[in-house]
């Protein structure tokens, strides 16, 4: 009996220790699959509406245009053009995302026709007064996090995996992000929960209104970010998604921001 007990105990014990590497591997695998599902989209463009809601329920709207080029073996290159508020109309940002290290980022200021390369180490700051930090909006790269698989379960007919993602960059505003991946829908992200540097729950981002483009790429047309600490919300609504547009490296240069 005693032997059996110790065997059971050792199995239990090992099942408590083994998952460390298993959890890492499984978590990484899910993130890789999620990232892989997006490979080959080449380029895309979309228009987005950013609706900022404060605690009192007052809203303001930013309109943006986004063009993204997939870069094999490195992060994406993208241009964001501001359309509203009208006083910043024509302002553009150019970002070269990298798998490791800081991104390269430029801003174009139309009033003085100046392109300025800016410090992109400020990842945790808000984008245009919204609840989205710069790091929330930069392209997802597997290499930027370490992973811990937490659980997997059926929700209705869909298999949902919960994975903890810990940013490697010490400049990140988060200690951890809890992600819900939909394994039945090509590993798309359904929800992210952000924990601040004090490890307190900061924000929840919900992805909804998913559409399948080119029969292959899932894109959420609505992203809803709720800040639990400030009570503020930001909604991102995407329209006119287009894939495989006529976009090359020549279009994503500093010089090309200037018109």
């Amino acid at each position: 009996m005693y032997n059996l007990k110790s065997i059971v105990a050792s199995i239990l014990f090992s099942s408590l220790t083994l998952p460390a590497s298993f959890a890492q591997d499984r978590g990484l695998e899910i993130a890789q699959n999620s990232d892989k599902a997006d490979i080959g989209y080449k380029s895309s463009e979309s228009e987005l509406q950013m609706i900022l809601t404060n605690k009192q329920g007052q809203t303001s709207i930013n309109l943006l245009k986004n063009k993204t080029l997939e870069v094999p073996n490195d992060g994406d290159k993208s241009i964001i053009e501001f359309n509203s508020p009208k006083d910043v109309k024509g302002t553009k940002t150019l970002t070269y995302t990298h798998k490791s290290g800081d991104d390269d980022q430029w801003i174009y200021l139309p009033a003085v026709t100046r392109v300025k390369r800016i410090a992109s180490s400020n990842k945790s700051g808000p984008f245009m007064g919204s609840e989205f930090a710069f790091e929330d909006l930069s392209s997802f790269e597997v290499e930027k996090y370490t992973y811990k698989f937490i659980s997997e379960s059926m929700v209705g007919t869909e298999k949902i995996a919960i994975v903890e993602m810990d940013p490697k960059d010490p400049k990140s505003g988060y200690t951890r992000i809890i992600g819900k991946f939909n394994l039945s829908k090509n590993y798309r992200v359904e929800e992210l929960e952000f924990y601040d540097r004090k490890n307190e729950k900061l924000k929840t981002l919900t992805y909804s209104d998913y559409k399948l483009y080119n029969n292959k790429y899932f894109r959420a047309n609505a992203l809803n970010m709720v800040n639990h600490q400030s009570g503020k919300k930001t909604q991102l609504l995407f329209t006119n998604y287009k894939f495989g547009i006529n976009l090359s490296e020549n279009d994503l240069t500093e010089d090309n921001l200037k018109n």
């Binding site: 303001s60 009208k86 109309k89 392109v115 006529n246 240069t253």
Partner: protein, 401 residues
């Protein structure tokens, strides 16, 4: 002028032939926007010279029309500017800031028309920047520029970005009238400062620029030949006033920026030669940004720059041995609240120019901007000595359409 027009005509003709084949069914994106601005300027001290006023009210209108082809190959931009000033007739002026047609052919870009082009990396002094004339009546910071007619050809490649400019016509600087501030004892009208070349404003200018970003470094090399934009200042004579003219110059420039984490290191330098004067000048410094301060979202940037100019007391901008220290605070809120506080100090002469600027969006499409320029301890060896009573408080309200 005829030569320039001929080039433009041939260019447009070739383009029309290209258009007729494949682009007639092209879709165009048309975008019209505008800014209407009301400006109040109050000078806190009485003017040094007769007739100078203390309060100035003016309005400006800045529309922008953009037409782009859906395929991104053709672009038109028209950007006129007009200001009406009640108290200073020379500030009542209009300009074509930009009016150009741009054609993109893979890695080539050809632009014909009037355009604004900015070069350089520094914040307190723009030495390398030379294509456009300054719209001096818009402000002493020299940020606003007059439109420059040009043919510009750019080529982007792995070796960097190459740009060529043909600038057939040069513009003169406009200074305040007798009622205005920031002027010299003798009122200088636009035509009072002469070109040294016999072709005057039609003496052609040319410029080349190469720029490349490699990892954390951005590097630019440039050369300009032609009519100087900045007037050559050869001294002050009580009888005849200031000795100012526009000589034909050669100017070589270099600008370097290094980005690492929250640091930006900068250097820009020029070497300018003419029959009358050769000099070197450089501005160098750093910018450090504290991002998301106290997790409240605000960015606080610190800027420090030093300028040396071997023209010394004959430096038209007055920046010959000066340090700029400033901080820029951006709240990153939904009103884009922004504030700049800084000072330029002359290391030897002690002259100091303090600057405070703040702006914030109001309602959906209005913006309020406040500015203070305060001169203190102005040395009589400075060209700025003429402006020593011109401390400015300014408020601008803009409506955007």
């Amino acid at each position: 002028m005829p030569k320039f027009l001929l080039i433009v005509c041939v260019f447009l003709l070739i383009n029309n032939l290209v258009w007729s084949q494949d682009t007639l069914k092209k879709k165009w994106e048309v975008d019209l926007s505008a800014e209407l601005e009301l400006e109040n300027q109050y000078f806190t001290s009485k003017g040094l010279y007769p007739n100078q006023k203390d309060y100035f009210l003016s309005g400006a209108f800045k529309p922008t029309l953009k037409i782009n082809s859906a395929d991104g190959k053709h672009a038109f931009k028209v950007e006129p500017f007009v200001r009406g000033s009640i108290q200073d007739p020379n500030r009542t002026h209009w300009d074509v800031r930009q009016a150009y047609y741009q054609r993109k052919l893979k890695s080539w870009t050809i632009t014909v028309g009037v355009r604004k082009v900015f070069w350089g990396v520094a914040e307190s002094n723009h030495l390398v920047d030379i294509i456009n004339q300054t719209d001096a009546v818009e402000g002493i910071d020299g940020k606003q520029k007059l439109g420059q007619p040009m043919l510009q050809i750019s080529k982007n490649s792995k070796l960097g970005n190459f740009e060529f400019f043909y600038l057939p016509y040069s513009r003169r600087i406009q200074l305040s009238s007798k009622t205005g501030r920031y002027r010299f004892p003798v009122v200088l009208e636009r035509e009072d400062i002469q070109f040294r070349s016999s072709n005057k404003e039609w003496h052609p200018s040319f410029a080349l620029r190469w720029s490349k970003t490699a990892d954390d470094f951005s590097l630019g090399l440039s050369h300009f030949y032609g009519n100087s934009r900045e007037p050559l200042f050869l001294g002050f004579n009580p009888a005849t006033g200031l000795d100012l003219s526009y000589p034909v110059i050669n100017q070589s420039g270099i600008d370097i920026q290094y980005n690492k984490d929250a640091w930006i290191l900068k250097l820009e330098s020029i070497y300018r030669t003419s029959t009358f004067q050769d000099f070197i000048a450089f501005t160098s410094g750093f910018e450090y940004t504290f991002g998301n301060v106290f997790d409240k979202g605000a960015d606080v940037g610190i800027v420090a720059e030093y300028t040396y100019d071997s023209r010394r007391e004959l430096t038209f901008s007055g920046l010959d041995n000066d340090v700029f220290i400033g901080t820029r605070i951006a709240l990153n809120d939904d009103k884009s609240t922004d504030c700049l506080i800084g000072g330029i100090f002359d290391v030897e002469k002690g002259t100091t120019l303090y600057r405070v600027e703040a702006s914030r969006r109001v309602a959906k499409s209005y913006k309020i901007a406040l500015k203070a320029n305060i001169l203190s301890n102005v040395s009589d060896k400075e060209i700025l000595y003429n402006f020593r009573s011109d401390d400015l408080l300014e408020m601008k309200i803009s409506k955007f359409f």
